[in-house]
Symmetry: C2
Subunit: 442 residues, 2 copies
Amino acid sequence: MSEGFPGYKGKALQVLRKAGAEIGDLIRITKDAKTYEGILIPRSEYGDEKHVVIKMKSGYNIGINITLNTQIEKIGVGAKPTFTPPPLPKQKPELPKVAIISTGGTIASRVDYRTGGVRSALSASDLYSVVPELSEVATIDAQILFSLYSENITAKHWSETAKTVAKHIQKGAAGVVVPHGTDTMAYTSAALSFTLQNLPVPVIMVGSQRSADRPSSDAATNLIGAVRAAAWAPFAEVVLAMHETISDASIVFHRGTKVRKCHTSRRDTFQSVNTSPLARIENEKITMLVDDYCQRDSSRKLVLKPDFDEKVALVKFHLGLNPKILEWHIEEGYRGIVLEGTGLGHVSNYCFPAIRKAVKNDVVVAMTSQCIWGRLGMNVYDTGRDLLAMGVIPLEDMLPETALVKLMWVLGQTKDVEEVKKLLTANIAHEISPRTTPEEEE
Amino acid sequence: MSEGFPGYKGKALQVLRKAGAEIGDLIRITKDAKTYEGILIPRSEYGDEKHVVIKMKSGYNIGINITLNTQIEKIGVGAKPTFTPPPLPKQKPELPKVAIISTGGTIASRVDYRTGGVRSALSASDLYSVVPELSEVATIDAQILFSLYSENITAKHWSETAKTVAKHIQKGAAGVVVPHGTDTMAYTSAALSFTLQNLPVPVIMVGSQRSADRPSSDAATNLIGAVRAAAWAPFAEVVLAMHETISDASIVFHRGTKVRKCHTSRRDTFQSVNTSPLARIENEKITMLVDDYCQRDSSRKLVLKPDFDEKVALVKFHLGLNPKILEWHIEEGYRGIVLEGTGLGHVSNYCFPAIRKAVKNDVVVAMTSQCIWGRLGMNVYDTGRDLLAMGVIPLEDMLPETALVKLMWVLGQTKDVEEVKKLLTANIAHEISPRTTPEEEE
C-alpha cells in the first residue's frame, strides 16, 4: 500500500505507478479490445492485488481485473485533496432532537472521488450538506460509531450500538436513527429489538441499496424518512426503514424482528415476513399499518439488555447435510443451534442421533423453516413429532436469522436450559406472529 | 410396535392398549379439560412414543402428546382391514401413454383410515379410483419407486429416479410424472434437470401441500395438471407443477432449476425465482409463458448423466459463523462448498483465511446469495472482489439449493478442478437467467 494509492497493492499498484495515475485522476483502461474511462477511486484495506476500480460517468463503479494485456493511461489530472468542511446549515432548536448513530454501509459512505478520500458523510455538517432537507425535519446530533461493511458486524457491535442508542435516549433524543449496511441490517434490527426493551421513542435502522453519488440512489429519501419517523412517528419500537416499492414515493417501517433482505439489488429489497410493515411514510405523512403497536411515551423507562452469547450457530439443513457438523458444534462447546429445516420443520432422519446427542448435552436445538414464509407445523408429520419428542424447540413463524439472534441474546441473559427454552418461545419483540388457527394444524 | 397398532410404541401404545382402541376406531381423548374426537390413524416406523394421532371430522390430523392426565376412550369400532382393489377403470389406448413414477410425499399417500392401512395410492388402479378424470387425459403406467418423506431423499434416489424416468422415455412414454414430497421437491427437480439432458418429452414433478383426504387438498388438481402436461404439453423440459395461486383454477409449471418452496403450508408455495414460470394450465389449456423453451420432439435422443458426488456442502453464512466449519469440510475431504453469502455475495472477512485454504486444497468454493432474489455483483464492493481474487466462483443468480445440486452433479462428471469451474458456470439447464445489464454492475 502506498500514499496516493489508498488500498492498492501488488500488481494493481504497479500498473498505476507505471501509468503515473493517482487517486482522483481520470484514467482510461484498455483490455480485450474494450475501453473503460473513469476516475480512479481508492479501495479498502482488504483490497486484492488484481483489480483497479474506477467510477464511470454513469456513476457506477467498476472493478477491472488487471491482466497481461491490460493498458492503463492517465487522461486527466484529479484535483488535489481538500478537506474543507461544507458550511453548517442553521439548526432549528425548536425541532425535535434526533441522534444519528452510524455503523457503516452504503448509506453512511460518501466517496469524495475528486479528492480521493473515502469519508463517512455522517458528521452533522456533512449530513446537512448532502441532505439539506434534514434541517427542516429535526435537529441532528450525528455520530460515527463504526465504519463497517455490515458482513463484518459481530455481537460486540450489537451491544455497543444498543448502549450508544440507550445513551442518546437517556439524554432526551426524540428518536434515534441507525444507518447500517443492508447485507446484515435485519440481523442487527433483531438484535436491537431484543436489547432495547420498553422503548420510550422510536429507533429507526436505515440503509440504502445505491450509494448517494448514483442517480438512482435511495440514500437521501430513506434517510429523510427515517429522521422524520424518529422525530415524529407515534410508535416507539425498533424498525427498519427502506423503500416500499422501486419508486421513491413511500418508505415503510418494518418491525425489527420480522424483516428480511429479499433481493440483492432492488431498493425495495426488505420485506416484512408473515406480517404487515408497521407504518408507511408518504408525502411526509406517517400512517400506521397495524393497531397493536407500542406508542411513543417519553416518560417510559428504557430497559437495556445488551448481552449476547456467541456460541450459537445457524445451520441450514440441506439434502446430504453431514450430521457430523451437528456433533462438531457439541464438541466445540456451542450452547445453541438454530436449524433451518425444510417445510413445516423437518430434517432427514439420519440427523436424529446427532440431534438427540446435542439435546442430551444441554445444547438448545431450535427449529425454523427455510421456506421463510409460513409457520412450522411439527405435529403434522412423524418427522416433526419425532423431533419435538427429542426436545427440539419449534419457533413458530420466526425468521431463521431472528431466531439465531434471539438465541444468542437469550443465552446472554441466562444459561439455565429450561429458562432459555421459556424465553426463546415467549414473544418478546413481535418475533412470533399470532396464530390464526389455534387448535388445528396444517 | 405391535400388530393392530402400526407405528405405536412405548407410552402411546400402552394407553391405546388400555383403552382397547385399535387403528380405525373412533376414539375420544380428554386432556387439560379439552376433548378431541377422531379416528385413530397409524404412524410411521419413526414415530415417537409420546403422540397419539387422530384424524378429526374436519379432515385434519392432530397429534396429541400423552401426559399423565390424558384419558383415552374408544367410542366407536373401525371396520376390519380390507384390501380389495377398486375396479380398474377402462384405459383408452388411443390416449398418450404417461408414466407416473412415485417417490413418496403427501401427494402419493392415501391413508385408508377406515382400515388402518397406509397405502400408496399410486398403483394405476388406485390412481384411477382416486382421480378418475385421469382416464380421460392419458393412459397411465404407474409405478411406486420409493415411499419416502422427501427430507430423506439422497443423491442415490436422484440417480435412481433419473434412470427410471429414462427407461420409461426410452420405452416410448409421451411424458413422465414424478410425484414427490414438497419439502425437497425443488432439490430433486434441479437434480433431474441436470441428469436428464436432451429430453424428447416433458418430465413433470408434482406434489401437494394437503393430502387427498382433506377438503382443501390440491393433490387431484395438481396431478391432473401434471398428467395433462406430460401427455400434451409442447415443451420437453424438467418442470415442477403446483398451484399458481391459492385457487384451484390454474397450475403452473416452474423450470426445475429456478423454483423454490417459499411457504410452509400454502398451496402456491412454489415460486419461480428471477424468472417467469415456463407454462400455465387453465381450463385444460396449456399456455407457454416464455419463448425460449425446448420443444417436444419424440425423435430427440435423451442423454442420461445420473452421477453425483456427495462430498459437497451448502453452508449458509451468518453473522458469527465459525470459519472452522469451512476448515472442517476441507479435513473431511469435501470437494465442493456452496456458500450462501449476504447481499451481492459477501461473507465476513474473518472467513477469508479458511476460504483461501479451501481453494488451495482444491475444494471448489462457489457463491450464492441468501437474498434468494436478484443476482450476485461481486465486483461492486471490496469484499466481493477479494473473494473473487481468492478463487471463489460467483454463481450469478443461481438458487443456493440448485447450486448445491449442480456442484454435486458436476463433481459426478469430472474431478478436474478447472473443468468443474467451467461446467459450474456454464448454463446447462436454465439455472442462470440472462443478464439484463451486460457491462455495468449494481
